[in-house]
Symmetry: C3
């Protein structure tokens, strides 16, 4: 059995930080799409809790943590309030938001992978669910806002790869019986730094080979 990686209160604090920054990104998109204040709150909740909700439903951890922990539910509402009243300022510090979002990405891919493994999934499936936990909220956000998920678009900086790397480090550590708070922290930091570098240097993934032969630019 896996030992808890962090003390519960540390784990909870890290989760709430990740939820908060994801909620900010959902609320900002809602403002850009001209939604009303309830739409902003809904999109903040979905972005922040969607990935973990999907993971918990898939592994059978029902009711999901998103609905049993009051802090998880309140945090996105607080983020939505901040954006509603301060969004010009929040947009001005977009760089800061992106840094926090990268931290949330690193954190969620690690905790998602760990939780999936603790519920009996194999290593590959655990890594896949860790990735889904980290990126699922953002995909739901874009689907509700009626946009192509930025996760899938070629003209966005790498987002999935840092989460995949973080999740893979975790499953390698589990495989070699080396998962400790320290190695987990390393996985979080590696995913976090990779995402920061991808944003700084605009790393992008290639598209299909020989693409131009049959497909036109849209």
């Amino acid at each position: 059995m896996l030992q808890p990686l962090f003390t519960p209160s540390v784990q909870h604090t890290l989760d709430v930080i990740g939820i908060f920054v994801f909620a900010i990104s959902g609320a900002l998109l809602a403002v850009r799409k001209n939604f009303d204040v309830f739409g902003i709150a809904v999109l903040a909740e979905v972005t922040a809790l969607g990935g973990g909700l999907f993971r918990d439903v898939v592994i059978g951890a029902v009711p999901p943590a998103a609905f049993t922990d009051l802090g998880y539910f309140i945090t996105p509402l607080f983020a939505a309030l901040l954006v509603i009243f301060l969004h010009p300022h929040v947009e001005r510090i977009q760089v800061g938001v992106n840094v926090f979002d990268a931290a949330g990405l690193g954190l969620f891919c690690v905790t998602g992978t760990t939780k999936a493994f603790a519920y009996g999934l194999n290593l590959t499936a655990s890594a896949a669910l860790g990735l889904a936990t980290a990126v699922g909220g953002g995909v739901l956000r874009d689907v509700l806002a009626n946009e192509v998920p930025s996760l899938l678009r070629w003209d966005r900086d790498l987002y999935a790869v840092p989460a995949i790397v973080g999740a893979c480090i975790v499953v390698l550590c589990i495989h070699y019986d080396a998962l400790t708070p320290f190695t987990s922290g390393v996985a979080v930091v590696v995913a976090f730094v990779l995402r920061l570098l991808a944003m700084r240097y605009h790393w992008r993934a290639p598209r299909a080979w020989n693409r131009r032969s049959t497909v036109t630019e849209e």
Copy 2:
């Protein structure tokens, strides 16, 4: 433990009415989007059963009632048939449809909250799931029809707020041990009347404060 609010047959009748009116709204959108008869049936089913399906999967009540009760499954097909053959008439009585839809909203937010609490969720989470039960089908309908969910748009009359108020009345009643068929009925009626007033007087929610400073109208 909660007592059942209504006798099973009364509860079932109320549920079927709510499912029917939601299915009508899904089928009408499908006709407007030019879907074929199977698309109309699918959108009617999804709109009518989607909210309850989401709630049941989240609270672990599987298989969901939508798949175990034949009446829940047949009702949307009947609504789809009506719309396919009579949709000019159904559209002409759009006001009537809206009134029924408001009734479904009031009913589903109350029964959704009650069922979530009966499955062990805390009061806040129960209210959130009651809201999700009431509005979830409509959101799925709009996502499948490739439109921005009308729940989120600022230029639509208040829809979430009546459901939130109804769900909050239920959790307050639970908290003060006062949930009876009478108080539940009051919650249904309050949500219903609020939605009717919102449609009559075009109540809308504000958007983000100081919005125009950075965001252009779309």
Copy 3:
């Protein structure tokens, strides 16, 4: 209790073939939408596994087979790789892909219905879930690609009907206690051939009656 229809290894091989061809269709759409290689892989996975994932979550078979069987997870990645490097050739053999997709449709509607019944759902609900298994992945594919699901559009050849017929044959066989590998195979072949005929002769479903009276062409 239902007997297993096929030996496990035969069943598994058939499943993997169905997953593979659905993944090809997801990956091809991703290339057309100009997604990067990770977007192509994600859309291949979602298209191939989405229908079965939905079915398993609804019937409470968690963790779903998509996450417990390594072969189910790897197969779509292989299909994505093929499309990334060979997509002009894959597109040239679109007819071949459509034939395989029809085979996957027939297979999934039968195995989906059988599995749902084995988990205790009634006959109607089992047929509905069989249909959802067969078409769910394609609907998720189109939603993520921000398009109206081709399942719902009137200008596409019949897709749901063959799956409905296949699922209905299975539940009739169950009802009359006649479900054997042979009758299941008949159901698969009937759905498969119906889909091929629908594509060959462009069978389409009608839209709502008297549609032009109030709705304009889009």
